[in-house]
């Protein structure tokens, strides 16, 4: 009889709860949650972290993270985070926001939080569509992309152009670390985790505003199967939303 030894190579991060999520099959929110959970574990900050959930598909994110969590009004998470961090500089504060939340209704809050150099971390999920309300056009919906409120495709002469938030926020002096990553394959997911780690380290070192934009999929509202979605992201979103670091303050490089 041979002796069987087991080695644990993969488990749920302590910063996540043991529940089923409500996310659709093929959605990359689960991946993004896990990456954040792993980073919080690795930094050993679960016990002093406060998260802020948005309005959007990830509105229930507070059930999936085993960290203290508040639910913000649509777009206002950076304002709530500002209040929390200003009064509790020893805590680790992060917001988790979608593209409608951050780049449409909450543009004022995100721009000013970044401009002030609020020492918070923002996880920005860009899937180019409004998921929770059923697939309407988002501020990041691509030109000619069909949605339930742009059924003929986004006509930029009417609806204007998609917003590139990383490029926009990177121009602000208060922003210390701004990076766009993608969740469409394993290689990119690893890079995304590294960026998330850098973002939280930036906050913990008190260096200023940090944000990681994660290009994500929405199989349901894109009306594609999960694999097609990943390919569509790669082929359509990345050309318009190029990946990489858009702002790395000198002090962040030394982390």
């Amino acid at each position: 009889m041979t002796e069987v030894t087991e080695e644990l190579v993969y488990q749920r991060p302590e910063s996540l709860t043991q529940v089923h999520t409500h996310y659709c099959p093929g959605c990359t929110h689960g991946t993004a949650h896990r990456l954040v959970g792993e980073v919080l574990d690795e930094l050993n900050v679960r016990g002093r972290t406060i998260g802020i959930a948005p309005v959007g598909c990830s509105v229930l994110a507070y059930y999936y993270f085993d960290v203290d969590f508040a639910e913000a009004a649509h777009g206002r998470a950076p304002a709530m985070a500002t209040g929390m961090k200003r009064t509790h500089p020893d805590k680790v504060i992060f917001t988790y926001q979608g593209d409608g939340d951050l780049a449409a209704i909450g543009t004022g809050e995100i721009v000013h939080a970044a401009g002030r150099g609020e020492n918070i971390t923002v996880i920005f999920i860009n899937n180019a569509i409004y998921g929770m309300t059923g697939g309407q056009m988002a501020p990041t919906t691509l030109e000619d992309q069909k949605t339930s409120s742009s059924p003929l495709g986004r006509d930029v002469s009417i609806a204007g152009y998609p917003l590139r938030m990383c490029e926009l926020l990177a121009t602000l002096d208060g922003a210390a670390y701004i990076s766009r990553q993608s969740l469409h394959d394993v290689r990119h997911i690893r890079r995304a985790k590294k960026a998330i780690l850098t973002a939280f380290k930036t906050q913990m070192a008190g260096l200023g505003f940090s944000m990681v934009e994660l290009l994500s999929t929405c199989s349901t509202n894109w009306k594609m199967d999960p694999v097609e979605s990943l390919e569509w992201l790669r082929d359509n979103m990345i050309p318009y939303f190029p990946l990489g670091d858009f702002k790395v303050a000198e002090a962040v490089k030394e982390l």
């Binding site: 972290t49 809050e109 000013h112």
Partner: protein, 354 residues
């Protein structure tokens, strides 16, 4: 502590400091701005948090964030700014976190003007945001009363885990009167058992206003209503001036209560028995006390710097058969004592005629 001459807005700010406010977030708007300006130096010198937000919308959400962590926090604004804060106020009410808000009312609707007004009565007592909730609303008439109410507002906000609004018209914000400041309180280090402070050694806490199941949201609403009931039972406040034998009872809050007081004295000199009932808590409205007092009076005259908003609460209190008259001015025009006296005299003439 000696009496000092204080500008209303600055006195309210200092009262908040002494009550142990840890953080203030606000946006400049006349006639409230001195409150923000005062705290911009005072809070920083005390090592507390002051931040000028990019909008009232951001300010109330910064307040919301801090309130979730269980420390004393406030904002202030004037009428149009309060309108902008309504979203946050509704979320705060549903989340049951304590917040203090000061509203120094100006003329409306729209951009209106910067003159004193009481046109926010509905806004603060009724339509403070979507959904079923009622903030506790306190209306001072003097700088001293404003100081005392702001000082107490933080305790009330924590006691009921609710929004407490101290509402005053621009007069009270801009005027100077002697006031005695309450003692400086230590910042509380106690952490409420609902506060978000990091889940060290325990599972996570959640503060949310989202309840997808109708039954669960109804449960929250029932709890909010029970809270409203406790507030109604315990927090009624009002003042009277020569009301005990008044035939004509004027009802006015804030500055209008004071103007009515002068008008009542003018009427008494002419042999007209007039008095004043001044609600201090606008919510809960002192309905029972007013109803009791109305039995002894013969007429009620409601005076407001609005088209007659509190008037509805007075009518609800005394019933549709009671003779209730109204005198008000709008747009930032302040009804002067002689105008109010004329209205009293007219009612008196009608009563004699009857």
């Amino acid at each position: 502590m000696a009496r000092e001459l204080w500008k209303g807005n600055e006195a309210l700010a200092e009262a908040a400091v002494r009550a142990g406010v840890v953080a203030y977030f606000g946006y400049p708007i006349t006639p409230q701005t001195e409150l923000l300006e005062y705290l911009s130096l005072r809070m920083v010198r005390l090592g507390r948090t002051f931040l000028q937000a990019e909008s009232e919308l951001a300010a109330i959400n910064m307040v919301y964030g801090v309130a979730c962590t269980g420390v004393r926090v406030m904002t202030s604004s004037s009428s149009p700014g309060i309108s902008l804060m309504q979203e946050g106020l509704s979320y705060i009410a549903a989340s049951e976190v304590p917040v203090v808000l000061v509203d120094i009312m100006r003329g409306g609707p729209g951009l209106g003007n910067i003159q004193p007004s009481q046109g926010d009565y509905f806004q603060v007592t009724r339509s403070c945001g979507h959904g079923d909730f009622r903030p506790l609303v306190l209306a001072p008439a003097t700088v001293q009363e404003g100081v005392d109410l702001v000082y107490e507002a933080f305790d009330l906000a924590e006691k009921y885990r609710t929004v407490v609004i101290v509402v005053a018209d621009g007069n009270i914000g801009q005027m100077m009167e002697p006031a005695e400041m309450p003692p400086m309180r230590d910042i509380s280090t106690e952490q409420p058992d609902w506060a978000l402070v990091g889940a060290d050694g325990r599972s996570h806490r959640i503060i949310t206003s989202l309840f997808l199941s109708a039954e669960k949201l109804e449960t929250l609403n029932l709890r909010l209503q029970a809270k409203v009931q406790r507030v109604r039972e315990n927090e009624v406040r009002y003042r009277e001036h020569r009301a005990e034998d008044a035939d004509i009872l004027m009802v006015g809050f804030g500055t209008m209560g004071r103007i009515a007081q002068t008008a009542a004295d003018m009427a008494r000199q002419k042999g007209i028995r007039a008095g004043v009932f001044r609600p201090v808590s606008l919510f809960p409205f002192p309905s029972a006390a007013l109803e009791t007092r109305s039995h002894q009076a013969r007429r009620i005259l409601v005076v407001e710097m609005s088209a007659g908003q509190m008037l509805e609460d007075v009518r609800l209190a005394v019933g549709k058969d009671y003779p209730v008259e109204f005198y008000g001015r709008m747009g930032g025009v302040i009804p002067l004592p002689d105008e109010v006296f004329d209205a009293v005299e007219k009612i008196h003439a009608e009563m004699c005629h009857d």
